[in-house]
């Protein structure tokens, strides 16, 4: 048989690849850089109390966060955030798979789930505070309660929409339940699940900050409010900067994991576009 034809993808020349990377880095950093310069100029020309110059914020950033505050405030926040995200994903995918696979369970629970999702999670903080006190567990509970829904509902939808021909294939080859779950249902739901995880992560970050603003004596959210109340404006801005950086870091981790898990999915998209 010589019918098989494959397109051999030759890796781009090293110098070219390097050039392209350099270009995209330039593009990515270009606009922020220009904005920073404008901001700096503006702050010198017309100093405003609540908008300190970027170099002032940068100094405050280093003074505030590099040092003991990293251990007392940043690490606990990150720990609660990570735990909240992992728990949300674990509970969301497991429960979502169960609900997605059982029709009666789905019909029973779906209206209820939609209702829970519609509740703005911060309003639960006072209740959870009453129930659990001002503890780490309470903050993690708030994060999970708010961040769970995107991944849960997307998993239900992803598991339910398994392709009918793929399911018939699995049935005709008499795949066991476990095999069907492992090799059919979960992989085919992964694009949906990952879309849910992406939302879950940003909701979790928001709830981490809010729960700390409400009831805490440590953490990023607490610190930002503290600086604001004490008119430490540059420090307050530096906290916001740090939150932004954490958000970018999360997004980067997510996209690395997603690229690995969904290589096939992006591959198909690429073939379809070509």
């Amino acid at each position: 048989m010589t019918l098989y034809t494959s397109t051999v993808r030759v890796a781009p020349q090293r110098s070219q690849a390097w050039k392209r990377t350099r270009e995209s880095i330039l593009y990515a950093l270009g606009l922020p850089f220009v904005l920073l310069v404008l901001w700096g100029v503006w702050a010198t020309v017309a100093p405003a109390r609540f908008f300190p110059a970027p170099q002032v914020i940068l100094e405050a950033f280093i003074d505030t966060w590099v040092g003991p505050a990293f251990v007392t405030d940043v690490l606990p926040s990150l720990g609660r955030l990570a735990l909240g995200i992992l728990l949300s994903i674990a509970v969301g995918t497991v429960v979502g798979t169960l609900i997605g696979l059982n029709r009666w369970l789905r019909e029973l629970l779906e209206p209820l789930l939609e209702f829970f999702r519609a509740i703005p999670p911060p309003v639960l903080i006072p209740i959870v505070m009453l129930l659990m006190g001002i503890t780490d567990a309470m903050k993690v509970a708030v994060i999970v309660f708010g961040a769970l829904w995107p991944v849960l509902l997307n998993t239900i939808e992803g598991v339910r929409s398994t392709d009918s021909v793929m399911t018939e294939t699995a049935r005709s080859f008499a795949l066991t339940r476990g095999e069907r779950l492992r090799y059919l249902v979960l992989p085919s739901a992964t694009p949906r699940i990952m879309a849910g995880v992406r939302q879950t992560m940003s909701v979790a970050l928001i709830l981490m900050v809010i729960s700390e603003m409400f009831a805490s004596s440590s953490g990023l959210g607490y610190r930002i409010v503290y600086f604001q109340r004490n008119y430490q404006i540059a420090e307050m801005w530096s906290g916001i900067l740090l939150l932004g950086l954490i958000g970018v870091l999360l997004a980067t981790i997510f996209s690395i994991v997603e690229k690995r898990l969904l290589r096939w999915y992006h591959g198909i998209k690429e073939v379809e576009r070509a």
């Binding site: 019918l3 294939t169 049935r171 080859f173």
Partner: protein, 266 residues
């Protein structure tokens, strides 16, 4: 006379819906012996796919029975493999070619060496041994259908059922795939039930052609194809006998479409 492998008796399928019942299959009976290659043709919309799903245990017939190896089919039997028309939706895109062929073998109690041997052999049989580590979506349509065939071959079924497998590939690929099916049948003695809407294809491939009527379906004719077992795209299709047979089947299908053929016993 070889033993009966597959026996379909008075099969009837009615789809019930809120807007009324639709009788897809009226009354189908036929038999297939071990080692045979039987083609089923019929006018479009005659319930070919419904029939196959009933035979494969994916659908429950309203009346009648399907027996495979003397055992009544109530769910998907373990000694049967299917090749679907929609190869793109039948192969799992997150598995490599090899992974797809291996999947149905996982729960068969086989040693690693034996399993690998089956996979290698099946991939070689369809001419894809060099593409084992590619993903299905990196291959052309014809290649993907070969993967689906390899998966069925490695499964070592007693009967292979193919549901219009080449309807979605181009004509040249189709000819190659038809020859592949003939070769699997001759060299490996595989029993194959091949459903198609293509009259020429049914006569070229089959040793018997079962012509179905229009819906509600019954068997309008069970025709023996008396062509030599060694077939060739050019010379076989040029034979006068081939032309006679295809003309005959063609006329039967036309009659079926017009509903002229009269169902025996009615």
């Amino acid at each position: 006379m070889p033993e009966t492998l597959l026996k379909v008796e008075h099969l009837k399928k009615v789809y019930e819906s809120a807007t009324g019942n639709v009788e897809a299959i009226g009354d189908i009976s036929f038999e297939m012996s071990a080692g045979e290659l039987v083609c089923i043709v019929g006018p479009s919309g005659c319930g070919k796919t419904t029939l196959l799903k009933c035979i494969a245990g994916l659908l429950r017939p309203t009346q009648g029975t399907v027996e495979l190896d003397g055992k009544r089919v109530t769910g998907p039997p373990p000694n049967m493999a299917l090749v679907f028309q929609e190869y793109g939706r039948s192969l799992y895109p997150w598995l490599t070619v090899r992974g797809n062929v291996e999947l149905p073998l996982r729960h068969k109690r086989l040693g690693k060496a034996e399993r690998d041997g089956l996979i290698d052999d099946a991939l070689a049989a369809v001419g894809l041994d060099h593409a084992a580590n590619s993903y299905p979506w990196q291959l052309s349509g014809g290649m993907q259908q070969r993967v689906a065939i390899a998966r069925a071959v490695a499964y070592q079924p007693e009967v292979l059922i193919m549901d219009e497998p080449f309807a979605a590939v181009d004509a040249q690929t189709r000819a190659d795939l038809e020859d592949l099916v003939r070769r699997l049948h001759l060299e490996r003695g595989m029993s194959i039930l091949f459903v198609t809407h293509d009259i020429d294809e049914s006569v070229y491939l089959g040793e018997r052609v079962v012509v179905l009527s229009k819906s509600p379906t019954w068997v309008q004719e069970d025709l023996v194809i008396d062509l030599a077992p060694e077939r060739d795209q050019i010379s076989t299709r040029a034979l006068p006998r081939f032309t006679e047979l295809r003309t005959h089947v063609y006329e039967q299908i036309q009659r079926a479409k017009r509903g002229e053929a009269v169902r025996p016993g009615s």
